[in-house]
Point group: C2
Chain length 671, copies 2
């Protein structure tokens, strides 16, 4: 067969030859200079193992600053590592404090009304929201390393916690046990977070994909907004379910006699005020970290708008006594700071396991949110954030929180953004906020008595509305359709079923994507790009030409047990397709299969077997297997097994170009 | 900084320039010819989606032969696809039958004593083993596409099934329910297998890695052999646990009065005979598909040795009445063929769920074994095996089996090897075996009355001993240490805990490996290999040299949410390390970071964000981000997002060499 087309090949081969000169021939000698594939120096087993462990768990090299330091210095560094406040505290000055003071006062004014509303989402009394904005920020300020994050209760986690807890205990019938379970869950949320950090398993939170988070957050925001219809419309009987269908039924069933027009008037007017303030003055700060281009120096208008609304509406209700016309008001917030709650945590019994389970879920979600915020701002201000250290800080703060009547706190998107714009310099802004909350708890809570619930609803709606990130969703659609499915799955899961279902969908789709990635890696047929010595995917470069008698396939993934069979069969199928086409066109059949292995970073025993089987399968068709550019790990393993001798050392080349020129030479010789 | 070292750079840049001429300059013009990165033609959404689905579920293109065929032909092809017997049956002839007859008789002689023993492992009466060698092989012969597999009960699945069923129902106290649960599990094992095949989810079995299977099989073999000590030593009271500690305690506790010397004599002498026959005449056919070089034409000696042992020992016991001296014998095997058992399957009640769960596990393990065997022999005889079709065949055979008093059947390693050596041509050898088993059931079973249990134990020990595959384990150790951990984990899990625990360990470690792969991909620093234009990992090629002012990093994986953060941080860490080194050596600092993206086959929204953040992080350090050779999907997504304009279209190159020469030119211009 080869001899028939010898003239053709001859020409082609000469062409190849000329080209190969330019790349790999040593000009002075004229003989092809073919560089050998490097075999990396043998590592001993222990070193190999410790390197793997290091890259997996200590990829950020946390002990680096400790190297070559005297003992006393190591101690100081160690303390500073656990309590970063001792590090940045030394350089703290009045100028920085000015920024932190303004930022702290601003986020305090924002958090107080939010906290009261969020506590309701978690089915807890309003003071628990305030408690959670007092202790956890203090702990975080000492241990955390983000300079911009604002700590406290957040909408999504409050809703999630409320939903999960409600499945176990009815918060109306049995409020004491419910509260105790909430503390138990908070405790285990903290334990989960701290443990992940200490065991350096922080990478686990990376398994929730960005797309899934966008969808989940958007869905949760809408669910939360819908929940606010109760307070907003003044509905008395409201469903306990959170899915959109139940909520809408609830709303429409009560349309005739359940709505309170005074409440609606108050709600609508203040919501308009809040949204106006927000959209006129504040840039669109979304959870994906995008910034709009609005006036940043007027950040304080929307930031204090909620507090102004609260003050105005409370005063209004107080003088008109609108609560007698059916306008629901807060009525009572416990005065004084957090009572201890260690003895309320369930450390035994049935509720221990339930609290643990809820805590793990809530802790992970809270962690994801906090780390996402931390990373966003760290990259904006260009400082490093140690994910694992952050987890320990967040975990400790929730453990301490669970013992001081707080529920799960984390970083809030909206308040962190305000904190950032208000010019915070360090975590001291959290301390300022915490002090303000303390003063509020001590002295001002009775004043909230006449605050209408509709205002809290309006504040929550205007706060969560930013979590619906249309732009991010559109970008996801543009970039990756599979991600979009994950995003929408999570979104609709939350809206039409519940937060847990949405979360489950998000995690499942994320995992399915990973599995798909490892079972069905890509392969590509390569061709030569004209006027270069470069071989590229012919799908991407239609001008690339195939080399007669040679097929070049690139494997685009590590070859593992999960894909070795697929890869082997996929290559053989390329071959069959190709041979059929060649036959139809009366072109010379394939005699060499070059496998470009540059992207193959690793191969395991199943992969080695697949390679052997590929070699055997090709042998039966009289086709030579040639490898190009196997990486260090791969070449090592090819030598460790007998595959190197099976294929032949002289059939392993540094580049595809070298392999092609060698194959072409042989084709010419045969012809 | 750059100007200080200008002379140095100048020289280097010129050198680079000369080189770049040879690779990418158009000789006639003299201006650098830089080929643009190809943007693949836009696919429409539906096409993209259908392509993904096709590669995932129909990667073997099963409908290919149906293309361009008339309807009647399509029907015939369809029937042949479901029942391959109509395909190969047409070319069947006497010569082939001769091979199948010999092979069928041989495997029948091997399977009859094995079946009786294996039924015991599953805690079922001996005839159920024989039943399972009658119906399932017939079904498989019609529907299966492997020519060499020998169908019937196998040791590992029998043990697994026995262990799992025993956890639910005591086989001694409640044998009827136990048997019914066994049929239920078999039914659902079949349903699982067939469903996986029909839904084309066959790739799921690839998630059990080769290494894990080797360890699991080895451990199971040793556990099974240990179980045989009961029959082998004639122990009356034996533990029900399968772990080595319990079994050994059982054995030694009974050492004084529980052992029966006559039994031991019979057992030891026949086991010696069996092992001798095996190791002298049969090549080492192990589950990893390795073949030794012993005399293959004497395959029948070890193949019929078990039957000879049974006949001799039965005759011996019959004339000496050794059963009166405490030699345990089979006593009774039900005569006649399989009674129907549809009405025995639990379709309602508590046991339905339990049967389902056990069935799924047993079905998956049975499937893994059968597919591994099928693939091994298919690649040896070079024919294609459709995994999904095989699953449907195996599933159907177990569903039918569950209705005809069979328990889970699958392909047996040892009998398939004998079948192959005996010269089987098609699945007719299974039919022959089935007929022999039928005749045995109808006429010969009473003769087994005096067969000593010790013989069955010896036969099982000699059969399973080959599943301990030392060579494979050594090879795994050599190739991949992580695989070895999986292998040993499964092995010791089975031996020291139980088959389920071993299986769980095997699956968990396999999954952990996949997760590790996707969270911690490799990255490499590249350098230029002397006298070429090729850039390679400097760890693998220590002679490769770095380019001054430029750092070249290769990302060795698709960039997904699970690793995008790690990759970004890893690259920045490479940079910090490198800059420190350069500073110490008073060398020019880095001004360009070239990211070689050849191995990056895909990128998702998180990956795009990571790229943006990397760009932003580099900008703050006055370093330019340059991309080399992004693949079709990646370039598409880079354009879909605004990353392309952010980085600059002119900073995306076809090759690292192009990128380097462009960067060097700029460095020269600046200097």
């Amino acid at each position: 067969m080869a001899s028939i087309h010898s003239s053709n090949e001859d020409i082609e081969a000469k062409e190849l030859d000329t080209r190969s000169v330019s790349s790999s021939r040593n000009h002075s000698q004229g003989a092809p200079y073919i560089h050998k594939v490097g075999v990396p120096p043998k590592q001993n087993l222990f070193k190999e193992f410790s390197n793997t462990v290091k890259e997996t768990f200590f990829s950020d090299d946390p002990l680096r600053p400790f190297k070559h330091q005297p003992k006393s210095r190591k101690l100081i560094l160690g303390v500073q590592a656990i309590f970063p406040i001792f590090e940045w505290g030394r350089g703290y000055n009045l100028l920085k404090f000015r920024g932190d003071l303004i930022a702290g006062l601003t986020i305090a004014s924002l958090c107080i009304p939010q906290d009261i509303g969020y506590a309701k989402l978690a089915n807890l009394a309003p003071q628990y929201g305030l408690y959670s904005s007092f202790v956890p920020p203090l702990i975080y300020a000492i241990m955390g390393s983000s300079r911009d994050i604002a700590i406290g209760p957040v909408a999504v986690v409050s809703l999630l916690l409320g939903t999960l807890l409600q499945n176990e205990i009815d918060p109306v019938k049995n409020p004491d046990d419910y509260r105790r379970l909430a503390f138990t869950a908070t405790f285990f949320a903290g334990i989960t977070q701290a443990t992940l950090g200490i065991l350096r398993m922080g990478f686990l939170i990376d398994f929730l994909s960005h797309a899934a988070i966008v969808g989940f957050m958007g869905g949760a925001a809408i669910t939360i907004a819908l929940q606010q219809l109760k307070g907003f419309l003044g509905i008395q009987k409201f469903t306990k379910k959170t899915d959109i269908v139940s909520v809408m039924q609830s709303v429409f069933h009560s349309a005739h006699h359940g709505w309170n027009w005074q409440t609606i008037v108050i709600g609508v007017s203040f919501l308009s005020f809040l949204l106006l303030a927000k959209y006129i003055f504040l840039s669109d700060f979304t959870c994906s970290g995008e910034q709009g281009k609005k006036k940043k120096n007027l950040f304080w208008v929307p930031a204090i708008a909620p507090l102004i609304s609260v003050i105005l509406s409370t005063f209004f209700v107080y003088i008109t006594h609108a609560e007698k016309d059916g306008v629901a008001i807060v009525r009572h917030i416990e005065k004084g700071i957090n009572p201890p709650s260690v003895n309320e945590i369930f450390f035994t019994g049935d509720y221990l396991a339930k609290g643990f389970k809820i805590g793990v879920v809530a802790g992970m979600v809270a962690l994801t949110e906090a780390i996402a915020i931390g990373r966003t701002f760290a990259s904006m201000k260009d400082y490093q954030l140690d994910g694992n250290k952050e987890m320990v800080a967040l975990g400790t703060m929730n453990i301490v929180g669970s013992m001081t009547s707080c529920y799960v706190a984390t970083g809030s998107f909206s308040r962190s953004a305000v904190n950032y714009y208000a010019g915070c310099e360090t975590a001291v802004s959290n301390i300022v906020m915490s002090v303000v909350v303390f003063l509020t708890l001590q002295f001002i809570t009775p004043l909230f008595k006449y605050t209408p619930n509709a205002i809290l609803a309006a504040i929550i709606i205007s706060a969560v509305i930013n979590l619906v990130d249309f732009q991010a969703a559109i970008l996801i659609w543009k970039i990756d359709k599979f991600d979009f499915v994950a995003c929408m799955g999570a979104f609709f899961g939350v809206i039409f079923a519940s937060v847990e279902i949405g979360l489950l969908i998000a995690v499942s789709i994320s995992f399915a994507k990973i599995l798909l990635q490892v079972t069905r890696p890509r392969t590509a047929i390569l061709g030569k790009i004209p006027r270069t010595n470069v071989y590229r995917n012919i799908q991407q470069y239609p001008e690339a030409t195939k080399v007669p008698g040679v097929m070049i396939v690139r494997i685009d993934s590590a070859v593992y047990f999960s894909n070795s069979n697929y890869i082997k069969e996929r290559i053989l199928r390329w071959l069959v397709d190709e041979e059929e086409q060649l036959k139809e066109a009366y072109l010379p059949s394939i005699q060499f299969l070059i496998v470009e292995m540059s992207p193959v970073t690793d191969i395991d025993t199943s992969g080695i077997h697949a390679l052997e089987e590929l070699h055997r399968g090709l042998q039966k068709r009289d086709i030579q297997l040639v490898l190009a550019n196997p990486g260090p790990v791969v070449i090592d393993k090819i030598h460790a097994s007998h595959v190197a001798t099976l294929i032949g050392e002289d059939r392993i080349f540094l580049t595809v170009a070298d392999a092609v020129s060698s194959c072409s030479l042989k084709l010419v010789e045969e012809a």
